[in-house]
Amino acid sequence: MPDAQTLAPWLESARSTAAADLANAEAPTGREEVWRYTRIADIDLANYSVPDADAGTSVDPIPLDGAAATIVIRNGRIASIDRTDALGKATVSTVSEHDDGQTILNSVRGEAVDVVGHLHDAHAGDIIVIDVPRGHHVEAPIAIDVYSDVEGGLTCPHTIVRAANGASVTVFERRRSGEAAQMVVPVVELDAAADARVNYLVAQQLGLNTISLEHQAATVGQQAHAVCSTAAFGGSYARVQAEMSLNGRGSSGDLLSAYFGDGEQMLDFRTFQHHNAPDTTSNLLFKGAVTGEAQSVYSGLIKVAESAPGTNAFQTNRNLKLSEGAWAYSVPNLEIEQNQVSCSHASTVGEIDEDQRYYLESRGVPTTAAEQLLVSGFFAEVIGQFPVDGVKAELQSYIDDALAADRAAQEAAA
């Protein structure tokens, strides 16, 4: 097996091809539907380049209690992989270590279709592959801790999770970055074979000068289940494209997100629920809050193929606007080529309910504390469904603290 840190020749050549594609590709203008309402036109990709291989950093990973394995990635390179017995027969490796790495890579996401995809493919190197063999259950979550802090740096984390027939695994990825202006272009591929279960949660806690352009893709086999979830808190412009493809009969998948934007942040979500097989079920719940001058965009599509009778598809996006200057946009969409389906979509943008706040205040709860309780309650519904129990309290309190800081800032300004 080749060395984990050395790129396989096929990967080097794939990167070169992608670099050529990138050079020939046209930059998005913001006029395309998938880039509407975004800041993409303001971003000059040429401003960012891959940090030197030795650009390490001393920032410690945040441990996940009881993790079966911990992968630490610093400025785009693997810093360490710590495996425990809890992994059992599951393996953690890089794609270069696999003889069939070329067929593993992008088998879920597919070929790159735009500038961002080519950008990622041209620079992704230390690509993580988590493999769980047939019928094996990894009970403890596997943790990935990603951090970068080089000014002008471009990093392209790539995580592939493969659960073979009847296997199960949970992966928690935490992405952070320093204050330096930089760009992160992550790809996540989740592959649940028949009767398998894949749980994935990413905590996006990037610095406020980091641009993030993320692509998550999951394919779910017969009677299998996948959960792809995102807590999105950081980034200046942070975009997530999330695709759940239900390809096997009776498969199901959840797309979940809790997001909180403050200051000048823009959080941008594009979701796709692809129903390609009969009797498939997808549940989407995205709940977010924006305050300050922050903006959020949610655009979701449920697509039911003619080959997918008996589809159940649900899509719910709810947004709380916590300040005058904040802005939330929500566009649900359906595209159905099959009659035997049950689909629903709901989207709301609203403020904190005045009657609810008054009810709490009339019991002696101060205004800010009342708002904290209400916002916390709003997010509890989705955070409660996140598949990594060990971080739920942390994510919930992150939102409490962010709201308290925002309210304190508003008070100071008033």
Partner: protein, 272 residues
């Protein structure tokens, strides 16, 4: 001994005057009943005293032991010792009774660690199922359960004064007994007895809760005051004597008894 003094209180809703000079003094341990026809502004009185948004005070004062409540935020009035049992308690998804009362205790500088035990004790006292305590506030509760929930809160918060806004509405006989008996006990406490302003339409509230003073409220003012016998008299004659004073076109800012178009997560529907 505490004193809640309402003096010549005037208030408007949407530019229309609903309270036209209300004066009332309640002392610790006293039960004052405010009775009146629908649309008379009874609920407005309770909301103006407790500080609900949407009402404009145009004159008068409300003091609790000399402290002007009208200058305080709603939560500060509660901290000062005022409690409102709502006619239609608001559903608050995602927030539990314990979380709310703990936040209240913290703000008041009281011991928050005893809140859980205190809720359990108060619930037991009025026959409120303890599994309702951790559920989201008022969500999927029956009318009777909501009023018991309000009464548990009254017991835990130990206010100086409680305004009961039609606490008898939506209550079955058992719940009514349990709730009114608890309030009556609080008014008879040796230490800091509760003062009560009970807004109601019907006399049945007084089977367990003994009123010291009864006020007939119509057209934004107290029309007549007396003892318990006035409630008996009203039961006989009804409010016909004052019915002509009621302006049915008066806008109200009461809670909608049928609820808003609210989702489980508490967001009102505003299509984005």
């Amino acid at each position: 001994m505490s004193e809640l003094v309402v003096t010549d209180l005037h208030a408007t809703v949407g530019g229309k005057e609903i309270l036209k000079g209300v004066s009332l003094t309640i002392r610790s341990g006293e039960v004052h009943a405010v009775m009146g026809p629908n649309g008379s502004g009874k609920s407005t009185l309770s909301h103006v005293i407790t500080g609900k948004p949407g009402y404009t005070v145009t004159g008068g004062s409300v003091t609790l032991d000399g402290v002007e409540l009208l200058e305080l935020a709603a939560w500060e009035r509660a901290k000062a010792g005022l409690f409102l049992a709502m006619q239609y308690p608001t559903e608050v998804p995602g927030v539990s009774l314990e979380a709310m009362l703990t936040a209240s205790a913290v703000a008041a500088g009281r011991d928050a660690d005893v809140i859980k035990a205190s809720i359990a004790a108060e619930s037991e006292r009025i026959g409120f199922a303890t599994d309702l305590i951790t559920r989201p506030l008022n969500v999927d509760l029956s009318g009777g359960e909501k009023k018991r929930n309000e009464t548990v809160q009254l017991g835990v918060l130990e206010p100086k004064f409680a305004i009961l806004d039609e606490i008898d509405s939506g209550l079955d006989v058992d719940a009514m007994k349990a709730v009114t008996r608890r309030v009556e006990e609080a008014t008879n406490a040796d230490d800091k007895p509760l003062g009560v302003l009970a807004i109601t339409h019907y006399k049945r509230l007084f089977e367990e809760l003994e009123p010291d003073h009864v006020h007939v409220f119509a057209a934004g003012v107290i029309q007549k005051s007396g003892g318990r016998e006035l409630a008996d008299e009203l039961e006989e004659t009804g409010y016909a004597e004052w019915a002509h004073l009621v302006d049915h076109s008066a806008p109200t800012a009461f809670d909608n008894p049928f609820g808003d178009t609210t989702f489980a997560d508490g967001l009102n529907l505003h299509e984005g």
